[in-house]
Symmetry: C2
Subunit: 224 residues, 2 copies
Amino acid sequence: MDDVVADLAQDRSRLGRTSTAERVADILRDRISEGFFRPGQRLSEESISEGLGVSRNTLREAFRLLGHERLLDHQLNRGVFVRLPSAEDVADLYRVRRVLEGAAVRRSPAPETLAAIKEAVLDAERAAARDDWQGVGTANIRFHQALAALNGSPRIDEAMRQLLAELRLVFHVMENPRAFHQPFVDRNRVLLGLMESGQAEKAAAYLDDYLDHAERLLIEAYAP
Amino acid sequence: MDDVVADLAQDRSRLGRTSTAERVADILRDRISEGFFRPGQRLSEESISEGLGVSRNTLREAFRLLGHERLLDHQLNRGVFVRLPSAEDVADLYRVRRVLEGAAVRRSPAPETLAAIKEAVLDAERAAARDDWQGVGTANIRFHQALAALNGSPRIDEAMRQLLAELRLVFHVMENPRAFHQPFVDRNRVLLGLMESGQAEKAAAYLDDYLDHAERLLIEAYAP
DNA sequence: AACATAAGAATCGTTGAACAATTCGACAAG
DNA sequence: CTTGTCGAATTGTTCAACGATTCTTATGTT
């Protein structure tokens, strides 16, 4: 009986009902992530609270949430704006990625734990084969999320989620976000190969170069 | 003229006045960090808003802020509680530390950039010499904050700040937090020495052992 | 006595309205 | 063209209210 109860405890997080503010935050997060709200755009309290049918107070709670996730920029007495990352932000995001993903690939995990990563690589390749660049982008993000997950830390998973969401903002101000991910499909495959064959240090070096390249490309194509 | 304006832009962050909610969050953060509010304790909206002379709405905004910093635990319809980290939380905090601080020491920085770290080591030693264990604790925290700062990333600095604040919660439920930091004064000195002499890999290995030891000690002395 | 149930109190979640504080744009004066 | 001033618009904060949920306590059943 006790073990049943222990099992149930795992589902408790799923059961947690959500407040209105959180649901509003979810909606806004999606809208931002899909580009409906553009970086730099101001989000009016009055129009949005009216549009969503919630009170201003509740909406402000949602704004706080997203502000802490760095998706919104809250300026006192001026309102909240969809965050518009600077070039320095991009550089810092890649600094963090090098640390988190670098530690992950050095971990030389058992081949069976690479399943999620392998799946993401395959998804990216399939999407590329049918010229679905949107799909390539999502699969690529999944790839790096799964990579960071090798660290086995919920906090790092969460940080990586936020980081990638923030990077998405950058993609939305690029002129040609679709072509960006394309060259990395092959690299993902190579990196996976190095990891599967246990060449941790080689994989780490390859990843560093990978991220350097991506950062350079991104900064160049970045115009704000 | 233009360069003057550019200089001024750097001061813009300092100018950002803070909202009442943020100031309330600052106060609560301090109170939690100093142990005035104990882990597990419930913070009543009514009594605290009354005590601080702010409205419930403003207080709730502050609660959201601290919830995102993992200092408060917000349970729907039950209220907010000072977070009481579980043993699994402690384990995860140390997982993150190994990644962030590990990447830092591997960076083999120029000796002059180690100044802040050296200062923290000296502070800890001076505090230990006069049996000021509170002082040893703060200096030790400063040491690790400075260590992580070698990554040169504002986001990592921020994450480290949060992480150490969360770790402070753990200290507050220990029976003997004062003696905990003592054995690490010497280790900090040794680690610094390894870094100064450019033995990055050796320093990394030493740090791993350092953190393993600290984690084990912490988990053992941890009762909830 | 142990347990389940139900009523009541306390607290949170959310709303709507109100007013002060601040920003922003326009327009007049120098 | 710059500087000051006014007014409209928006945010910051408070307050009061009410439904919803949880906690507590009393009651009744086996």
